[in-house]
């Protein structure tokens, strides 16, 4: 090997090492702050409260970009270009702090079960009801949506009607328990949203439920 070849080999090795080293470490976020020119329109996809991140398409002048990673951002420049990147948490706070702070509390759901053939809650549901009242008390202008569900025995239209009847029954019970009627809406989801997925025409008590969404 000539001295030159040795040097070249050393350079290649060094590059390989650098690459290896570079790959072994997490990729640092792009340093260019995507959100900083505050005169431009900006869209940022945010992680959900459960840590997952959805997706968003951004279309400008016939060009579509899909954002699908946490804090993925698209900025539309005054010249009409779309610039994408990752916004930092600080940039998100700076650009959207006031809007984010004005988010209403998220709806929360409770499942209530009534004693068979009675207007009376099961003992477990009595305790759940206390939590429903506590949740109502801490919310601005609280409302309830009572959502009825069925199992998959029967036709879809039959179950739609049945789930609505169940929801109305529970609404009436809640009114008797002191919740103003004008604060309660009802919905019937029929067999569309089973708690326990089953084949059609399978009886499943856990799917015959009424959900109370406090919002």
């Amino acid at each position: 090997m000539t001295e030159r070849a040795v040097t070249a080999r050393a350079v290649v090795d060094l590059l390989g090492l650098l690459l290896l080293f570079g790959c072994a470490r997490p990729v640092p976020p792009p340093p260019a702050p995507v959100a900083t020119p505050t005169r431009d329109d900006l869209v940022v996809l945010l992680p959900d409260q459960d840590g997952k991140t959805g997706a968003l398409s951004v279309t400008h002048a016939g060009t579509e970009r899909v954002l699908d990673t946490p804090r993925a951002a698209a900025r539309i420049t005054e010249e009409g270009r779309i610039v994408t990147g990752i916004a930092t948490p600080e940039e998100v706070q700076q650009a959207f702090g006031a809007a984010l702070a004005a988010q209403p509390p998220r709806p929360v759901s409770f499942l209530l079960y009534f004693l068979e053939g009675k207007d009376e809650l099961t003992p477990e549901s009595q305790a759940v009801l206390q939590r429903v009242f506590a949740e109502l008390a801490r919310r601005p202008s609280p409302e309830i949506v009572v959502i009825g569900h069925t199992d998959r025995v029967g036709t879809v239209p039959f179950n739609d009607a049945l789930s609505l009847r169940r929801a109305r029954k529970v609404r009436d019970d809640l009114v008797k328990l002191g919740i103003p009627a004008d604060r309660i809406e009802v919905a019937g989801r029929g067999e569309r949203e089973p708690l326990v997925p089953t084949d059609d025409e399978v009886a499943e008590p856990q799917n015959r439920r009424v959900e109370i969404s406090v919002r």
Binding site: D41, L46, G54, H60, G97, A102, P104, R189
Partner: protein, 159 residues
Amino acid sequence: MAGRWRRALLLFASGVTAGFFLAVLLVHPARAQDVGQIKVSKGAVSIERSGQKLPATVGAKVQPGDVVKTGGDGSVGILFVDASLLSAGPNSVLAIDKFVFDSTTNQGAFESTLTKGTLSAVSGKIAKQSPDAMKVKTPAAVLGVRGTEFAVRAIGPGD
């Protein structure tokens, strides 16, 4: 005889009328146009509805066609019937262009426009059921919402 017939006819007519009103009530529950409610309101916030300016206090209802505006010190948070949530920061103009929701199938359409200002959004049952059924527009872009949380800033023409 004629009196009895008249009475029977009257009874029949009033029954039909009552039935009709009952049917209307069942098909169109009261407040059918209300698609959301103001849950957070700080500083100057108003709702513009068919040329009228309404106060956007906590508990005020939001309807399709409404334009929600915030002042320099204002911010507002709205919860929609499909559990979608929109909140706007100061100096914002947010129009609720379209909102249709079937609480049985969860199918619907939700379109809004942020003319200027800042918006944070959490999509609800409409977008979960049908991706791209929820759209947010700005003067420069159209956003198709596949879920769930995002934020938008629009620079208005006069800004």
